[in-house]
């Protein structure tokens, strides 16, 4: 009963059903969608480890099967899918076209599950494309502005998908099969040129989804305009499909080739530069979702670095970060979505001081940013630690500097994010803002608990990761439930860390401040030192515009150089050229007749060239 086709069937049937039900019984659409995700969660969780399905289509055999690697990502998709749909129930309640929304949402989830269980390239590509177009539909869901953004997203996705397709086609033409089991491990049977092209094309293709640097331009806008529950899924799970693919390509295809080290080195540097530049761009943003979008790009850069370095520790770090990023970025996007739901904007210069109004969202965002920053008590630290240790120990000295710079600079935008939205002046405009409903709180709270637990026991997550790494033919690495080891004999026991922090914190916190806190009286944020001047109620004391101006000035050349312009220019040139080209069809019968005659003349005159015969 529990097998992969059922999972896909549930996803797609649920999708269509929620669309149909939207038009028949609008109240049932959300329960249907929710039920679908719950079923998916159960099915994915209970999926036996060795299920394998073959389906014959034409000449091809589509193979679907579970691997530890796929199951890792599958679980991630299912969990996030459930959380985001649960989050949507209230978030989207007032929106229109919900049937459309849930249909595409479940299509995305189904597509992603299809990808992770694919055991051949055709079905991988098949589900990849399903995921792509349904996510495109969700990107353009919101508003008119989203159209061109969605189109940009789709064009980049199509370029990515088609470069994967060219890779697939190349593989097929040289190997005659597209089954993973026939290709992985036999990659050296084909010529080097094709091997290189396949690997480069596939990395480009998967890199588009994981927003590698020159191909990232779609991401900030697409993340910013798509509805928040989907943004959480988008950044959390969908971008991980790119990572999933790159992992496959790197360890299953490229690892056996002679040029593996070059691929690794190039990819690692691309990842590092992606991390750094994306972080810098994130600092300059004023829209919270765009900021998080750039942050996602940066985090994906780390993951790519980890994968590309290729030591067991770094791969573990990358996969760990991949899973964790899905969680914490969803947390942040959900918190942002909560703010958006209550205030109607995500512009950080407009919203401020929501902490007392939305404590749960604030705590979620706080834990989120601490995890992103990689500060010890939470899960992010383990990932960062493993990544740096592996980088230093594998001799990537300058790369470690680049990503450390990125990681330090990340504090800037993280603080700006939480400060602008939740801290700072409590403005009169947001006086009546309330906390979001419980359906939205539950996913946030659960994920907050998750990052806490993972912070203390990274081993919980490293167990599935190490079995996934086994599938990827990577050597195992040492870890215990709460202890991380590096190759030089160093170790960090997270339990000791957390215990000591907690002990000091509780001692000081309880004995010094709780008493003080009780004795103090809350004063509004207007009652601050303003050199004696009395701010009026409507006076805006928020410091939110040009938050990091000095820093932006220091990195101005980097911010100015925008790859986006290059793409826009290319697009414009093409479009203009196409516009000229269409005047080939003049609409004039005489011209068409002339074309016919000319074509005949060409055929006759150049027949030697064309047919090899002189007429």
């Amino acid at each position: 009963m529990i097998s992969i086709p059922y999972i896909l069937l549930i996803a797609f049937a649920g999708a269509l059903l929620s669309f149909v039900i939207h038009h028949i019984a609008p109240k049932l659409r959300t329960p249907v969608a929710l039920l679908t995700t719950v079923l998916l969660l159960y099915f994915v969780w209970a999926l036996p480890a060795n299920s394998l399905i073959n389906i014959k289509i034409g000449d091809f055999i589509l193979t679907w099967g579970t691997t530890a690697y796929g199951q890792l990502f599958g679980m991630l998709v299912a969990v996030l899918g459930f959380f985001t749909v649960l989050y949507s129930t209230d978030f989207m309640a007032s929106k229109e076209r919900l049937g459309y929304f849930y249909m595409n949402f479940l299509f995305v989830i189904g597509g992603m599950l299809g990808i992770v269980y694919s055991q051949d390239f055709i079905s991988l590509f098949f589900f990849w494309e399903i995921m792509t177009w349904s996510s495109f539909m969700l990107v353009i869901y919101c508003c008119k502005d989203a159209q061109s953004i969605g189109l940009k997203y789709f064009v980049f996705s199509a370029i990515g998908a088609y470069s994967i397709l060219i890779g697939i086609v190349l593989l097929y033409s040289s190997m005659g099969t597209l089954q993973f089991k026939n290709i992985f491990g036999h990659i050296n049977e084909i010529s080097t040129g094709i091997k290189i092209s396949v690997i480069i094309l596939m990395i480009i293709g998967f890199g588009v989804k994981s927003a590698l640097m020159p191909l990232h331009v779609w991401a900030p806008d697409a993340y910013a305009v798509s509805p928040s529950p989907f943004t959480a899924l988008f950044s959390g799970a969908l971008s991980k499909m790119g990572i999933f693919g790159i992992g496959l390509v790197l360890f299953k295809l490229a690892a056996h080739t002679g040029f593996y080290s070059y691929v690794q080195y190039t990819l690692a540097w691309i990842g590092g530069i992606t991390a750094l530049l994306a972080t810098f761009y994130a600092i300059a943003q004023t829209d919270a979702k765009k900021l998080l979008a750039y942050s996602s790009i940066g985090q994906l850069g780390y993951i790519i670095v980890g994968l590309a370095i290729g030591t067991p520790l770094s791969i573990a770090a990358a996969l760990f970060l991949a899973i964790l990023h899905a969680i914490f970025k969803s947390m942040l996007f959900m918190a942002t979505g909560a703010v958006y739901m209550r205030t109607g904007t995500t512009n950080m210069t407009e919203v401020s001081g929501l902490i007392r109004k939305m404590p749960i969202s604030f705590v979620t965002a706080l834990f989120g940013i601490i995890t992103v920053a990689g500060v010890p008590p939470l899960g992010g630290f383990a990932a960062k630690w493993m990544l740096y240790e592996s980088l230093i120990q594998s001799g990537h000295y300058f790369l470690v500097i680049v990503i450390f710079a990125a990681s330090t600079a990340a504090f800037l935008y993280l603080f700006r994010y939480i400060f602008s939205l939740f801290l700072g002046q409590e403005e009169k405009e947001w006086e009546n803002v309330k906390e979001v409903p419980w359906t939205m709180q539950i996913p946030m709270i659960l994920m907050t608990i998750f990052v806490l637990v993972i912070g203390v026991f990274p081993g919980l997550l490293l167990d599935p990761i190490s079995s996934a790494m086994q599938y990827l033919n990577v050597k195992p690495f040492d870890y215990q439930m709460s202890v991380l080891f590096n190759n030089w004999g160093g170790k960090v026991d997270m339990q000791i860390v957390v215990r000591s922090i907690a002990a000091v914190f509780i001692l000081l916190g309880i004995f010094i401040t709780i008493k003080g806190y009780r004795n103090t009286r809350y004063v509004t944020t207007k009652d601050i030192h303003t050199s004696g001047e009395i701010p009026t109620e409507n006076e805006n004391l928020t410091y939110a515009v040009d938050f990091y101006k000095p820093f932006e000035r220091s990195i101005a050349p980097l911010l100015k150089a925008s790859i986006d312009k290059v793409y826009t220019l290319t697009g414009d040139i093409f479009e203009q050229a196409f516009d000229y080209l269409r005047y080939v069809y003049t609409g004039n019968g005489q011209t068409y007749a002339m074309y016919v005659v000319l074509f005949l003349a060409i055929l006759l005159l150049f027949s030697e060239l064309i047919f090899g015969i002189i007429l």
Partner: protein, 485 residues
């Protein structure tokens, strides 16, 4: 049961319709439906036979190569079924869509056109091919001008102008062929063509290429197409895209595969296909009118088919046929949907479609569905055929063609999705009290279901593709069946 019914019944109906028209207009509307139902019955009966063993029907009692013969092989079985299916949905769609008098003329021409197309597909005789080609063409000219407005007349005239070139070239080629081989039976020609001097053969090939290239929308010869598609009524656009062009390209490929097997011809076809596709897709990018855009997209898709035929291997021919089939379905769907979108918005401009998705959700849904399908996205049928084309092209080592096909797919995606996002995601909601007729929706619904079904279960069609492709490729078998049945 005989394949001749495919030709005779529509022809008969075509003559019957004006007579019935004197009695009742409503009856006129029903006649094509009856015809198609009957044809489907014929198709269902003949299909299982024809797909395994060709049925050769001799008309007028003379044996091949002297008599007129019909050849109902797997390919013809496949194409006639397709024409019947498309014809049926077009009739269903036209039922409420064509409200302009004279209705009986429309249906008469439509029946003539069906006669011509099935004739092209079924005939085993070059001259009959020409005759049927002319029948199709003349019906098509008239249908183009059916709305009897200025633009329609202009488009029809252009079509006529270029079409007369086509007739001339084909006739000239047939004459030249007959002068050299003294036979008109295609199987016979195939056996005797090798005795003809190479230069003459090339010349004949060029003439065929010119003549049938015009009808099958090859690049410099397809000037008529955008105008004809966009100015004719929407079902006629579907007729062109789904029936006329498919029949013509069948004829071209049949002749080329039968008579000429130079490698260079094949390469030339690939090049022409690529050029056709690229220029058409690029031109479609900035079109202002939705039907004109669809026309260019149609041309582009035909380029894709020509590429696949040009590669000339068994998988590629199969892919080409599959692509033809899918294109006929999807493009008909798109024309249908576009027809009602234009009808509701009151303008042919794409910019007038803003927000129609809210007002007319179902029609818009069909358009969006068709757009996704024709771009080649899973899980729609277009995905598989495009994938097959790509894989087969790549298997012949033509990676440049693969890249260009994918490039044009990106362009295609851009202009289709632009329309889709305009439909759904613009806030201005136009309201049109007129409702989309049920018959139109049913027609589109049938196509949608077929597309989705084939998308999830491509084996259904792929299963028949192999014998069909083999028929086209296996010259000896055709000769054997055609001459010595």
């Amino acid at each position: 049961m005989s394949p001749v019914h495919f030709i005779a019944i529509p022809l008969f109906a075509a003559f019957l319709i004006p007579l019935v028209g004197k009695v009742s207009k409503n009856l006129v509307k029903l006649i094509p439906g009856i015809v198609f139902l009957y044809l489907s019955y014929v198709a269902i009966t003949l299909f299982p036979i024809g797909i395994h063993k060709p049925i050769v029907e001799i008309i007028a009692g003379f044996k091949a190569p002297f008599g007129i013969s019909l050849y109902y092989g797997p390919l013809a079985a496949f194409l006639t079924t397709m024409i019947t299916l498309i014809g049926f949905v077009i009739w269903l769609y036209s039922y409420k869509f064509i409200i302009r008098e004279p209705i009986e003329k429309y249906y008469m021409l439509f029946m003539m056109l069906i006669t011509g197309s099935t004739g092209i597909v079924l005939t085993g005789d070059v001259f009959n091919l020409f005759v049927f080609l002319e029948i199709t063409a003349i019906a098509a000219y008239s249908l183009t001008a059916f709305l009897r407005d200025k633009d329609g007349a202009e488009a029809a005239f252009k079509y006529l102008l270029i079409g007369s070139f086509s007739s001339t070239f084909v006739l000239l080629a047939i004459v030249l062929l007959y002068a050299n081989v003294h036979t008109l039976n295609m199987a016979d020609i195939a056996t005797k063509i090798s005795s003809v001097p190479l230069t003459t053969r090339i010349f004949i090939l060029i003439l065929f290429l010119m003549g049938l290239g015009i009808e099958s929308e090859m690049f410099p010869l397809n000037g008529w197409a955008p105008d004809a598609y966009s100015q004719a009524p929407s079902p006629v656009g579907a007729v062109f895209g789904g029936i006329v062009v498919k029949a013509s390209i069948y004829a071209l490929m049949r002749l080329i595969y039968l008579m000429f097997e130079f490698q260079s011809v094949m390469h030339f076809l690939v090049i022409m296909g690529v050029i056709t596709m690229l220029i058409a897709e690029m031109s479609a990018m900035r079109q202002q009118q939705i039907k004109r855009m669809l026309a260019f997209s149609s041309i582009g898709q035909m380029g894709l088919v020509i590429i696949a035929f040009g590669v000339g291997t068994e998988p590629s021919v199969r892919a080409a046929l599959f692509q033809m089939f899918n294109h006929a379905l999807i493009k008909s769907l798109l024309f249908f949907a576009a027809g009602y979108l234009v009808f509701h918005s009151g303008s042919k401009k794409i910019s007038a479609l803003d927000g129609l998705g809210h007002d007319k959700p179902i029609t818009s849904f069909f358009f969006a569905f068709g757009a996704l399908a024709i771009i080649g996205l899973p899980p729609f049928s277009g995905f598989w055929s495009k994938l097959y084309v790509l894989l087969s092209v790549a298997n012949s080592g033509l990676f440049a063609a693969v890249a260009l096909i994918l490039f044009s797919s990106v362009v295609e995606a851009i202009y289709y999705l632009r329309v889709v996002s305009r439909l759904y995601f613009n806030t201005e909601v136009a309201t049109d009290v007129r409702r989309t007729p049920v018959s139109g929706l049913v027609a589109m619904g049938i196509l949608t279901l077929v597309i989705l079904f084939v998308g999830f279960y491509p084996n259904l069609v792929l299963h028949w593709m192999t014998p069909a492709a083999n028929e086209l490729l296996n010259k000896a078998a055709y000769i054997k069946a055609g001459l010595f049945h």
